[in-house]
Symmetry: C2
Subunit: 357 residues, 2 copies
């Protein structure tokens, strides 16, 4: 029974040792003779898990106590609402960069809460590039960006400097590369693409940005309530946070951000080089905006698609169907994806060309 | 290594076979050679899990297609907000029964959204009984009750008949006994007390009650959005829903609600009889309102408490410390608690009396 090469766009691949440890915790967590699925989140063993997960985020981001880290339920989609709910004032407005479906959804929620302006968009070319040269207004309540766009395979290669609070949805490339976290007021990410399983969302927020809207707030949507409760205002998603903690621990142990950034670059180079070299494929995004997490490519001869499908399936590859908005193929090569699996895919692409050209 | 007798109030005990199957799914789910933690929630194997979980709720509740079932993140605390957000109109008001801390929290959120009246409360006696003889107004938008109060060990033994939509937080006694689900417009429950692990909340709602507030709604707080998305508007809490599905499957396979209600009654009788018989303990709640899920009791001689603690600890019992609002002891005997564990506790109580009286 050989392991499948899992190129799923998300929920995505996790390190094998994390999966094993998670499996064990379902039976006997922390030598308590109890399953992690049936213990109190207030037990000292679990409080230690939550504390470690929160501390690891701050350590990997190299930030101090001006930031707080939360792990919340509801997914990044809940953050689309919570960000404006917590930061957008009655008289102010929010500024957004529209780089795809997920950014559009964030914009939609912000508009329900208050004034919202889209500063730049790449919708004109089906989000196949990242807008550049736009001006960020200096009177907005915040500026919201999406660092990586899973569907289209685009990624912001640098982050805008701006005078207003910078908010970023990093769901699909969190901790995949070095970022200067102190340039951000708020960073959030659904765990399930790069740092854990579905069911838990990481929020890191600068405390002094909160409490300024004057809005009377529902408790569960109020970051300050969750901060006060040390990310346990109510029962947290116990198991998903545990698996996330293990994944962050794995990242740190193996060399942290510097290590993973190098590895991710190597994997991305390998795959993009093959796409550019291979006459049967082409990339779908502007080269300078190519994502190191989600590699999208189309076949030059669509009539051969079924043949290529046979080849990758027989190589035990899974999850590389492109999103319906782009078509073709998408290989998601998140942190936990070993370079060996990328090599298997590249070999299949070469094999395909040698057979049909 | 013997299993601990887990009387934790929540997250609470789960069936051993569910824990084993969950553990296996972390490595190889559904013979996919992939972990459940790293597969797409849109894969057919996982869609089948979500469908089965939703169908099992309807089957166990014996309701038809006028109801929809959702599994959402955020916990019951999020439902405290979503219920009024979806049901409370601008000109109307919500009616609540206050039977404890959790009911009070639900009331607090409702008040943020609109007019809210508390119809009856047992706060005068630290919520040690269930209010009776109150009148439910027939012009309220809905009437909200909490069926079981974990902290105090009280339970509604029958449900009020009312003309307005009845909404119930069943977090701590869902599927522990027969209820006439068709009398309710909305039932919700955090999974982690009786039907699964933390991280997923069950909502069952009558479709025709929705869409009447005229409120412009945030997508993630809108039941209709989640219904349209078949409980996958966004990435659901994949693993928690799976474990919940397994627990519901276990319940059905073993005889369903009729079986578990009988077993739960037997366990509760065993324990309450001992509390009433044993000169070193007394119950804390009105007898007619005693919960069959959370059994609260205090020592008659507090100076002997440390001695009792030694006894139950040496019997491998865990999680029976009372909540700080009540003190003493609380034995939570949820569905998955075997009667053998209750017998162990009763034996320890008898042993304690024989040693110190």
């Amino acid at each position: 029974m050989s392991k499948v090469h899992n190129f799923s766009a998300g929920p995505g691949i996790l390190p094998l040792e994390v999966l094993k440890e998670s499996s064990e915790a379902c039976i006997n967590f922390d030598n308590m003779n109890l399953s992690l699925l049936e213990i109190s989140h207030r037990s000292k063993n679990y409080v230690a898990v939550m504390d470690e997960a929160r501390a690891l985020v701050k350590e990997l981001f190299e930030v101090g106590d001006e930031y707080e880290v939360l792990f919340l339920g509801g997914g990044a989609s809940m953050q689309f609402a919570m960000v404006p709910y917590n930061l957008l004032t009655d008289k102010g407005y929010a500024a957004y960069l529209n780089t795809g479906v997920w950014a559009s959804k964030a914009i939609k929620e912000s508009k329900i809460i208050g004034n919202t302006k889209v500063i730049a968009s790449s919708e004109d070319k089906n989000f196949s590039y990242i807008p550049k040269g736009y001006e960020i207004p200096n009177d907005a309540d915040y500026f919201h960006i999406t660092s990586n766009n899973t569907i289209y395979g685009t990624q912001l290669k640098s982050f805008p400097k701006c005078e207003v609070p910078l908010v970023c949805d990093m769901s699909s490339d969190l901790f995949s590369r070095k970022v200067n976290a102190k340039d951000f007021t708020l960073i959030y990410a659904g765990a399930q693409k790069n740092i854990g399983p579905a069911g838990s969302t990481m929020v890191m927020v600068k405390k002094d940005a909160l409490g300024k809207t004057g809005r009377k707030m529902l408790s569960m949507l109020d970051y300050q309530v969750h901060i006060k409760g040390e990310s346990m205002y109510n029962t947290p998603p116990v198991f998903p946070v545990y698996v996330t903690m293990l994944t962050l621990r794995w990242l740190k142990k193996n060399g942290g951000i510097a290590w993973i950034e190098r590895l991710n670059q190597e994997k991305a180079d390998l795959l993009y080089n093959e796409i550019d070299r291979n006459s049967l494929f082409y990339g779908t995004t502007a080269k300078e905006d190519r994502s190191n997490m989600n590699v999208c490519f189309l076949p030059t001869k669509t009539e051969l698609e079924a043949e290529f499908d046979k080849l990758w399936k027989s190589a035990n590859i899974d999850g590389i169907r492109g999103h319906r908005d782009v078509g073709g193929y998408r290989a998601s090569i998140y942190n936990a994806m070993p370079i060996e699996s990328v090599k298997v895919l590249v070999d299949v692409m070469k094999d395909f060309e040698s057979k049909f050209v």
